[in-house]
């Protein structure tokens, strides 16, 4: 809602020096979101005056029409002589009143005006268009004023060019503030000044000889006021003040009848519609549409109607989509001037409709037909049904005043009975909700200020005003009192919170994972969870891979990515590629986040009641419909894991780093991770590990498949890991402090030859088991294949450290443990001692 300050002052006698910013600050504190305060006309400098065109000489021989004019500007040029001006516009004649800026003036731009030679003549000034004056986007040439203004009159004043406009974003509960009347009411309350209510008009009572209206759906339309004006001069135009107010409010002046309906809508908030009475066939009817009916709306679009649409009809069928947009067949005609006689023909009899429609019906129609209009915006948010009569009256008055019409005596006013809404509110409730001390008197006064009638003492019986359909329960009234008293004035206090229990173990774990990975050199990213088939194709997933079953969105941002991720890898690898593309080539990235796994049999989540707590069964049904959303962690690596430098060579990242990242996560969880060789897309079939906790597969890690690397345009040997944090986490884990022996260590090395296909993990577990409890630690320090190991064989060299808790081990004891270890390894894995 754009609110010109000059217009606002018509209803509230604001202090003279009060600026737009001052007013905005007050309104903001009362809850109106004033987004900007626009300063109009600050970039225009006169002399800008009314001129009378005395002569026009068409200058031939130029690419476009050029006119050499003499214009009477009165005494404004200091001489009283006609002003010589060259002009490129052609929409004016000798005798027309125009707007002239004289040398020394400045137009917005800034564009200073001076006398100059052009097209062989002197041009001492300029005849202005609305656009050049910053009044609007009118492209219809220069402004031609009504004839009554005298040459030399100051046009800055006349055209009301200097003003301030408050642009207010109106929240859905404040429909009444989509009008000058509503904003003025807020301003009056904010300043403690009286309001001159523009809807307080003398309106003749309803009678039986108004235009015949039949309302078949009193729920959809509980008020319909119709008034008729005849003898309207079709050539009459909107006066400057009306056009200017519309322009400043962001509405383009069109024709007098339309301008008046728009003006009254802005003023009192009641959307109006004007029909050409001669084009309406019989009585007006309000009803729901029949399936299959159509209507061509004012914008020329033929619309298929739905049975829910509320219609205005006549005997010919639909003539308007109620509260949204009128139809083409009954609209006010564009005036046509006969070039011979100069006689203007057009609409001379107008029916003014001021109706009240049900908000939900209008909202749905506007949504269904994608027709958000100024009218529907207001009806959706609630229009004052009691303002309909005044609004119609105001429009009639203006048509009479400006267009020379005659108001017919008939007044149609169909009103469905409207129950009186009263709200009982404990007078102390605002104090208790706010934590402030207002007292009953203040509460009553504030409620009266917003238009409520209030009776009672301890319990107040409050009747909200007709323009506040949003006030329905005691808390609505509390809000009115507290906001008008000022939120800033509520004393701040701290609640006494019962002792908390801190973060849960799972929450601590999630933090620890991030800290551990970042500590290991990984950088966290947050990718969008949107994916498409292309992402899965890139990962080389089989057609029946479970990860291709996704939760889909009806309205994705990008049609190619309509689904939610079932793996973190697409987003993470995308971030990796983006970084590489930007020249960051040594990368270790990680992400934690949820994936979305559809239920085996997708269901619809029920819409439960809101007037009571749902039952446990209902909640269980609701939760059962939601997709599983486990929390995952993933890493991706490329380039050097440890950089090379003056200290020597670094180390490239690879499959082992990806698996180690999983161990880092497992360590953060305090669980033992088992690594097993596996084949799983998108990993390299020979370089893929399955990660297990106990017997549960929690994820995979390794080097990516070369085909995936190629398809996704990743650097060669890119590695990745993904695992499920929910599966890794175990609540209630507690580490037992290990006993630390101070006796000396006995170290023994052992080199084993095994088949190349034997897994180091199996050899290690065999050694551990065979070595028994004297083994303190075991470390694989060398792996090699080749001639020395023998064809198809590999050598694994370990350091075994033995230590006893209670004594110094003898060399024999250590050797025996070593031999036992080797024996078990030999039995389980076929290992033989190297050189044996």
């Amino acid at each position: 809602m754009r609110v010109p300050l000059s217009w606002l002052r018509e209803y509230v006698d604001l202090p003279a020096g009060e600026t737009g910013r001052d007013v905005a600050a007050r309104l903001v504190r009362a809850g109106l979101e004033v987004e900007t305060v626009e300063q109009l006309g600050t970039d225009i400098k006169g002399p800008l005056v009314v001129g009378e065109v005395l002569s026009i000489e068409e200058l031939p021989g130029f690419k476009k029409p050029i006119r050499h004019c003499f214009v009477n500007v009165g005494a404004a040029n200091g001489t009283g002589e006609p002003q010589e001006i060259v002009c490129g516009a052609t929409n004016f004649q000798v005798g027309d009143k125009v707007v002239v800026i004289l040398p020394g003036g400045v137009l917005p731009g800034p564009f200073p005006i001076s006398a100059r030679q052009t097209y062989g003549h002197t041009s001492a000034g300029m005849i202005c268009s609305a656009r050049e004056l910053g009044m609007g986007d009118d492209h219809n040439g220069i402004i031609v004023l009504p004839p009554e203004y005298e040459a030399g009159t100051d046009a800055i004043e006349l055209l009301q060019l200097v003003d301030e406009v408050l642009d207010i974003a109106v929240t859905p509960d404040r429909g009444y503030c989509l009008s000058m009347r509503g904003v003025a009411r807020e301003a009056a309350a904010a300043y403690g000044l009286p309001l001159a209510d523009p809807a307080l008009l003398d309106v003749p009572p309803a009678n039986s000889y108004g235009y015949l209206v039949k309302v078949a759906d009193p729920v959809g339309c509980d008020r319909f006021v119709a008034r008729t004006v005849t003898g309207v001069n079709p050539g009459a135009q909107s006066p400057i003040w009306l056009q200017r107010r519309l322009q400043k409010s962001g509405i383009r002046p069109i024709s007098l009848a339309v301008d008046i309906t728009n003006y009254v809508m802005l003023e009192v908030g009641q959307p109006l519609h004007a029909y050409d009475r001669e084009r309406v066939d019989g009585p007006i009817q309000v009803r729901r549409a029949a399936e299959g009916e159509t209507l061509t709306t004012l914008d020329g679009v033929k619309r298929k109607l739905s049975a829910e649409d509320l219609l205005i009809c006549d005997n010919s069928g639909p003539i308007g989509l109620a509260g949204v947009m009128g139809g083409a067949t009954t609209e006010i005609l564009e005036p046509v001037t006969d070039p011979e006689t100069g006689v203007v023909t057009g609409t001379t009899e107008i029916i003014v409709e001021a109706a009240h429609f049900e908000p939900v019906a209008i909202a749905r129609s506007a949504k269904r037909h994608k027709l958000p209009s100024e009218a529907s915006k207001r009806f959706e948010r609630g229009v004052d049904p009691e303002a309909a009569r005044a609004a119609a009256q105001r429009a009639v008055d203006l048509l009479v005043l400006i267009a020379g019409g005659t108001a017919e005596a008939g007044v149609t006013d169909i009103a469905a009975p409207r129950p009186v809404r009263t709200i009982a509110i404990d007078a102390g409730l605002p104090d208790r909700v706010a934590g402030a001390e207002y007292g009953r008197e203040t509460v009553t006064r504030r409620l009266q200020e917003v238009g409520c009638s209030v009776v009672g003492a301890d319990v107040l019986e409050v009747t909200p005003p007709s323009w506040r359909p949003d006030l329905t329960d005691p808390y609505d009234l509390v809000e009115e009192v507290v906001r008008l008293e000022g939120y800033d004035n509520v004393p701040a206090r701290m609640p006494v919170v019962p002792p908390g229990r801190g973060l849960s173990e799972a929450q601590r774990f999630h933090r620890r994972v991030g800290v551990a990975l970042a500590g290991a050199g990984y950088v966290e990213i947050n990718a969008y969870p949107f994916v498409g088939e292309a992402a899965f194709d890139g990962l080389g997933l089989d057609a029946d891979d479970a990860r291709r079953r996704t939760v889909k969105l009806v309205n994705p941002l990008n049609d190619a990515e309509p689904a939610l991720r079932t793996t973190l890898l697409p987003g993470l690898l995308g971030a990796l590629r983006r970084n590489v593309g930007r020249g960051n080539t040594d990368l270790a990235l990680f992400e934690t986040g949820t994936v979305f796994l559809p239920k085996a049999e997708p269901k619809v989540a029920p819409r439960l009641p809101v007037d009571r707590r749902p039952t446990e069964e209902q909640l269980a049904e609701l939760n059962a419909a939601l997709p599983d959303q486990p929390r995952r962690v993933a890493v991706a690596l490329t380039g050097e894991r440890l950089p090379s430098g003056w200290w020597g060579k670094g180390a490239p990242s690879g499959w082992a780093d990806a698996i180690e990242a999983a161990r880092t996560v497992a360590a953060a969880a305090g669980v033992e991770l088992t690594v097993r060789q596996a084949q799983y897309a998108p990993w390299h079939p020979g370089r893929c590990a399955e990660l297990l906790v106990g017997e549960v597969v929690v994820g995979h890690a390794g080097e990516l498949h070369p085909r995936v690397v190629k398809a996704l345009h990743l650097p060669e040997r890119t590695s990745a890991m993904e695992l499920d944090l929910d599966l890794v986490f175990e609540d209630g884990r507690r580490v037992s402090g290990p006993p630390v022996s101070a006796y000396p260590v006995a170290t023994q090395d052992v080199a084993l030859i095994v088949d190349a296909g034997v897994h180091a993990a199996d050899v290690e577990s065999a050694l551990r088991e065979g070595a028994g409890e004297l083994l303190e630690s075991l470390r694989l320090f060398d792996v090699f294949t080749g001639e020395q190991a023998g064809a198809g064989r590999k050598s694994l060299a370990y350091t075994l450290r033995f230590r006893a808790a209670d004594r110094t081990l003898t060399a024999d004891e250590a050797s025996a443990a070593r031999e036992s270890a080797v024996a078990v390894a030999a039995e389980r894995t076929g290992a033989v001692l190297r050189g044996a």
Partner: protein
């Protein structure tokens, strides 16, 4: 060496004459002083304190002296040897220090050499910002709560007093989850706010309830410098007996002081949210210009767009209808709730100009934020 001899006159023993002992002592001390390095000192040490040194030889003569003479001779030699050893130790220390100084100079390195052998990682600033906010609330006694991102419409809208035709429901551009029949009637959405977690927390137990819930939320905005379709909120809710709007103000004041700093004014603008009433938008006085940029084109402020205020988020007293939907008696309990946008706080708190930087995952953006924010 002479054998003990009772008739032996000590003064007759040449080596034990005081002047001879003193001379040997002085020569030793002089030799040590003259030693230029540790090798020379070692030679001087052998010559003057070794078995064949004059003082050692003299010492041996004491044994042959009559008992009455032994004490005096022993004292004489002992003092001399003491002085010699002291001089030796002193010189030894001096020369070692000299050597050390020289060697350590030779071993000097350029300690300004760059060293990036172990790459550093970093956590995303939005993650650590959320944790910082969580910690502030946990310190006040709150629990950290969470909920699913694909959420039931009932929890995201209906239970929050946003019925199907509520105008506010169209204000939020919602991603709808496809139903089995291909329509939008799955009853599920990508949550548009963290508020459904409020409802879940209320459904989970009886008040008193004090919970904070950070999380990702979704709206159908295209990504640009100031919008992202996937963003983060932190929501806090308190439900207890006697909670007021004043308690809400006090809580947010504490949060702002911890998060951004003290001494900044807050502006409470009445606003509209279906799930709270009274509702407010919270504006924070711009901590860069402190309002000096307002109406002052010579001093524009990028942080607040010369508005003087920065929007922090929305808040209010929990609408009793919401309590009812969650099974809480509104006559006994009241509550407050508020939600903050993390991206905007990060932009303001850390001078981030473009929201895309938080989204794209460029390591150059994230690394400087380190492990905590």
């Amino acid at each position: 060496m002479s054998a003990p001899n009772k008739s032996y006159d000590p003064v007759e023993v040449e080596a034990l004459k005081p002047e001879v002992v003193e001379q040997a002592r002085d020569e030793a001390i002089a030799a040590f002083a003259a030693a230029a390095d540790l090798d020379e000192l070692k030679q001087a040490k052998v010559a003057h304190t070794g078995d064949r040194s004059p003082l050692s030889l003299a010492n041996r003569e004491i044994g042959a002296l009559p008992p009455q003479a032994k004490a005096a001779a022993g004292k004489l030699i002992g003092q001399a040897r003491g002085a010699v050893n002291q001089a030796l130790a002193k010189r030894q220390t001096e020369l070692e220090a000299e050597r050390d100084a020289r060697v350590l100079v030779e071993e000097a390195v350029d300690v300004t050499l760059p060293y990036g052998r172990v790459p550093r990682g970093a956590r995303h600033p939005l993650t650590t910002l959320a944790e910082r906010i969580e910690d502030t609330f946990v310190a006040m006694g709150y629990q950290v709560a969470s909920g699913p991102e694909v959420e039931a419409e009932w929890l995201n809208f209906d239970a929050l007093n946003l019925h199907a035709d509520h105008p506010a429901r169209s204000m939020q551009d919602t991603f709808f989850v496809e139903a089995p029949d291909g329509t939008a009637d799955s009853g599920m959405v990508l949550r548009t706010q963290t508020s459904p977690v409020q409802i879940r927390a209320m459904l989970a137990g009886e008040p008193p309830l004090y919970a904070v819930s950070p999380g990702r939320v979704y709206r159908t905005d295209e990504l640009d410098a100031t919008h992202t379709p996937v963003f983060r909120q932190v929501e806090a809710i308190a439900v207890d007996e006697g909670l007021t709007f004043g308690h809400l103000k006090g809580t947010i004041e504490v949060l702002v002081e911890k998060l951004i700093g003290g001494g900044l004014e807050l502006r409470w603008r009445p606003s509209y949210f279906p799930f709270t009433e009274p509702s407010a938008e919270i504006d924070l006085q711009c901590f860069v210009c402190r309002g000096a940029s307002v109406g002052n084109p010579d001093r524009p402020c990028r942080t607040c767009s010369s508005e003087g205020w920065i929007e922090l988020g929305g808040c209010g007293v929990v609408n009793p209808r919401v309590l009812v939907a969650a099974g809480i008696d509104p006559n006994r309990y009241s509550g407050f709730a508020f939600g903050l946008g993390l991206e905007r706080i990060l932009m303001n708190r850390h001078n981030v100009a473009d929201m895309r930087d938080m989204v794209e995952g460029d390591v150059r953006f994230t690394l400087p934020f380190g492990m905590e924010i």
